[in-house]
Structure formats: C-alpha cells, structure tokens
C-alpha cells in the first residue's frame, strides 16, 4: 500500500515544509502520492509533480478549497484514503488543524508530530515539551501521522515528472466561512527554515526595543523569533513565537536575547545546532542549553554585537 502526502501550498507555490514531509513519507514507503486541494492551483500542482520523491499527484479543485478550510478538505482525503496505508502531513497549524478531522472519520488514532520514522508502524515523537521521547507503534490498519518538519531534511524540488490526475471535488461545508487572513509579509527568511534565528524575550521591555533584534537579524540575514512572554506583552506578533505551543525551529545558529528560557520556550529551540544566550541574569535557565552564554545587559551587548559584526570582513548568508 502507498503513502498519501497532503501538500501544503498557497495555490501558487507549494510551501517549503511539503518538501520535509515528502522526505518523511518516503521513509515510510517508496510509493508516495501527493494530494493537492485548492483553487486555481495548477502551478503549485506542477511544482509538486517535480519533486522526484512523488510518484503521482492528485489534484482536487473547487472555489471552496481556496482558503484551506479543514471541514472542506477532510472528506476529500477520507475518500482517497481507501487506497492508502498512511496519510501524512506536516505538524504545523495547517496539518494540526486538518489531520485529526481525517483520523476521526477513519476511526484511526493519530500519531502527532513525529521526529523519526523507525518502521512503517513505529515512530519516535517528543512528549512533555520535548522533555521525553516516546517510541510508539500504531495498531490501526490505516495510519494518520503528522511529522515535525524541522526533523526531516527537505527533499529535492526538481527533476521529477509525476503524472497529475484530477479528481472531482466534494461538496462545500456550509457551516464554516473563511473571512480573512492577515499574513505578515516579510523579506526575511521564514522562521521555520531560517539558517539563523535571533529571538527576543520579556527582557526587551518594549516593542520599540525589538528594533535591536531587527538590526541584529538584518546583519545576520536571520529570521526573528520571540518568547511567549514577548508575544503576550504585545512586543511582536504571534507568528514569531518559538516554543511548545508556537513554532519549533532548528537553525544553525539561535541567538536568545533577554529570554529566561522557560521549559516551554526551550521546547521550540533546544535542537538548534549552536545556541547563544545573552541575559543579565546569570542563573537564567537559558544558559543550561546555550553553547555560548554572555551574562550582560542586552542594551549594551546587542549594539556591541553589531559593531563587532561590522568589523568582520565577511558574514555567512
């Protein structure tokens, strides 16, 4: 039996995490098919067909699929599911919203947010904000699995030419209406996939002071992150939150500025390759995960950091 991957896209392009999810799907079984549900999404479907790991693309089009409403998507996938042993998606807000609706309809106990495929029915997943790892085995005949994108490398995005098969859409679920989406547009790298992340916490003291984080991020071509405390205080918008209930990031370099390091924040960043912490409280828990800790007032240290970076001949991008 084959694996069905649910592609995430914006009707024009496939979202980067679809590449990570494809890698995870291919580790379960070689025969990976991908379903793309949307409106006027031919370009995205074509891009999907070019992933060498994908053997077939199923495209489902209708106006009511334009805004990715889970109540509209789930029945389409449930119908396709009879031909597949596994249904896979990313464990981001798209997949988290959608997959349980599919799993319940299939009477399957979903396995969320896996970080490793051990075999086709056994997976590793973090629990308790990543403070324990559970090895779990599904006894259901059909498996619904969401994958933690940052735990799988993105697959190649070109060179493939899978056939694209169009399937009839399902009915619209009339009780849910999409109204609007306020996306924060930015020229910066995406938080989830950036090589460098600079994050600010409650220690920033105001939204205005986040300019320091922005300057440092500009210099390092980094994405901007934040602790929940900083988001709750209104210093920065929710899409920047790193942690157990925010985003999980695994950059090459994570710089935590004015972040104390609550368990819930560490859950979102402690797998980063190199961690730097700048905090004036030498006892802050963030130092327990930092490779390089600097006990200093961030309002002095960050400007100095910028000066030191200016002295370098080259900075990796």
């Amino acid at each position: 039996m084959s694996v069905l991957l649910i592609a995430e896209h914006n009707n024009k392009e496939i979202k980067p995490f679809t590449l990570n999810a494809s890698t995870a799907a291919s580790q379960i079984d070689n025969d990976v098919h991908a379903v793309i549900i949307g409106h006027n999404c031919d370009e995205a479907a074509k891009a999907l067909s070019e992933l060498p790991l994908i053997k077939k693309v199923i495209q489902v089009e209708a106006a009511h699929y334009e805004n990715f409403v889970a109540e509209n998507f789930a029945p389409v996938i449930v119908k396709l599911a009879e031909n597949y042993s596994h249904i896979i998606s990313s464990a981001n807000t798209f997949g988290k919203n959608l997959m349980p609706r599919i799993a319940a309809a299939l009477d399957t106990s979903q396995i969320s947010d896996i970080i490793k495929v051990i075999s086709s029915d056994t997976f590793l997943r973090p629990i308790y904000a990543g403070n324990a790892f559970a090895t779990v085995k599904s006894k259901d005949s059909k498996k619904c699995v969401t994958i933690r994108p940052t735990s799988f490398d993105p697959c190649e995005s070109s060179g493939g030419s899978a056939p694209i098969e169009k399937t009839d859409p399902g009915e619209e679920f009339s009780k849910t209406k999409f109204i609007k989406r306020e996306e924060v547009k930015s020229d910066r790298p995406e938080l989830g996939t950036a090589r460098v992340v600079v994050s600010g916490g409650r220690g920033m003291q105001s939204g205005d002071n986040f300019k320091l984080i922005t300057s440092l991020a500009d210099k390092l071509n980094a994405a901007i992150g934040a602790s929940r405390a900083a988001v709750d205080a209104g210093y920065i918008s929710n899409d920047h939150q790193v942690g157990q209930t925010g985003k999980v990031v695994v950059p090459d370099l994570y710089i935590a500025v004015g972040i104390s390091g609550a368990i819930q924040h560490l859950a979102g960043m402690k797998e980063s390759k190199v961690i730097v912490a700048i905090n004036k409280d030498g006892e802050a828990p963030i130092f327990s995960v930092a490779d390089y800790g600097l006990e200093a007032d961030l309002f002095e240290a960050v400007p100095q950091f910028l000066e030191e970076l200016n002295k370098l001949n080259t900075i990796q991008k």
């Binding site: 309809a105 599904s138 800790g293």
Partner: protein
C-alpha cells in the same frame, strides 16, 4: 445557550518532568498536577460569555482517573455551574476522549464546546478537531478571539502565517489558545461555594464506546542531552567564537 468545556488534569507546567527508570513513562507520583493551561483559557472564555448574558450554563467535563475531580472542581471555583467526571483508568487516547465527549454532547446538547488547543503532556493537539469531525460540526482551532454575532461565532485563529478569521455556525467546537484571555484565580469564597456545586460521575465503560488504546507505547526515554556550553566574558569573544570555533557566522 449552553457551553460545555473539557478540562484535562496534567502535570503542572512548571514541573521539570522525569522519565521512569524502567522507561514505561514519566514519574507522576508526588508530582504537582494542575489544569492543562489552555483549558483554563477555555473555562475563562465560557464564564465570560455567561457573565455577558450570552450563555445560561457552563458545564465542565473531565475524563480521567478519580483525582481528575479536582480539575473539575477548580473549573467550578472560577465560574462553571456544574461538573461531569467520566472515570477511566490507564491511557486514554484523543480518539477515545473525543468519542466519550461525543456521548456527553449527545446527552447535554450544548451549543458550544470549548477546550484547550493542546494538552501539554502528550502534546497531541487532536481532541477538538476529532470531536468536531464525529459530530460533523464546524471547528475553530487555536482561537485567540471569539465574538458572538447573530447566532454565529466569529473567531480569530493563530496560524503560522499570522492570523485568520472565520465565521462558524452554532453548534460548534472551539479550541483555545493561551492568548484568548487572562484566566482568573479562584477566590477563597468561590472555592468554598464550588464544593457545593454538583459533579456527576460516570464510568467510561458505561458509555458504550471503544476506548481501548490503538497505539502501543513501546518506551519513553530521556532526550539526548546537550553538552554543556561555556560562558564568554565579552561580546568580542562571543563573535570570535562564533566565527572561528562554531563557524556559524
């Protein structure tokens, strides 16, 4: 309007959990337990809606061992009118929880069901969406703002890209984000009053649904430890280390 709120008893969010030596799970004996944090937001929102005169009754339901009664009692102390405890032993997966909640919904006929978006113990993030699929109701997950408008809800959802607003018909399921509101603390008089509020006890086995685990937990381990880092004495040293030792800038 009647609002049912599901609350879960979990290890307190401030506790540093420990993995059992035999790798069968995490240590829960003599560990502080609390309400799952976003479930507190769910109760708070329901109580606020009732206080605004838009709901007539708030019912708190928990599924778990006998001690989960404390979690229901806490919800009563911050304003829920009555409680339901569905008693179970052992592991209960989100699919089973949603089937049990479906039975409670069929019996109580609430207009809205609220719960936290995710439990901080198993981090599954499934139950609300599953319940809404079983009932074929609309779902609004990760809610950070809820407005009641002409028998419908307008909900702002926190998504990876920013914020999304949807309109859903009632009856509906809403899973709550931590930013939805600021949960209140229970006052001592209200804690005393809550002791007199009724909690109906049911046995999960009497509700006629299959709640056997479908997932076998093979082992639970400590995650690999990061090796200890160093403290640097100046920004100049930090930048030098990042450039020449870690080679990341």
């Amino acid at each position: 309007m009647k609002i049912l709120v599901a609350v879960k008893r979990v290890i307190d969010y401030n506790v540093q959990i420990r993995v059992k030596e035999d790798n069968t799970g995490v240590v829960t004996d003599n560990v502080k337990m609390s309400t799952n944090p976003p479930d507190d937001n769910a109760i708070e929102e329901a109580v606020k809606i009732k206080e605004a005169g838009k709901a007539t009754e708030v019912i708190a339901v928990s599924i778990g061992e006998e001690k989960a009664q404390e979690t229901v009692r806490k919800a009563l102390a911050v304003g829920a009118d009555r409680g339901i405890l569905v008693k179970t032993d052992g592991v209960i997966e989100p699919l089973a929880v949603s089937k049990l909640l479906q039975k409670i919904v069929e019996k109580e006929k609430p207009d809205l069901v609220f719960m936290g978006k995710q439990a901080i113990d198993d981090d599954c993030n499934q139950t609300g969406q599953m319940l809404s699929a079983l009932l074929n109701w609309p779902q609004a997950t990760f809610a950070s703002k809820i407005e009641i408008k002409d028998g419908k809800l307008e909900v702002t959802r926190e998504i990876d890209e920013g914020l999304e607003t949807i309109e859903i018909n009632i009856p509906a399921i809403v899973t709550c984000d931590l930013r939805l509101n600021e949960p209140r603390y229970a006052s001592l008089p209200n804690i005393m009053k809550a002791k007199k509020k009724p909690i109906e006890q049911l046995n999960a086995s009497d509700l006629g649904v299959d709640i056997n685990p479908r997932i076998e937990q093979i082992k639970v381990e400590e995650p690999p430890k990061r090796k200890a880092g160093i403290k640097v004495s100046s920004v100049a040293e930090l930048v030098q280390k990042l450039k020449n030792e870690a080679k990341v800038i």
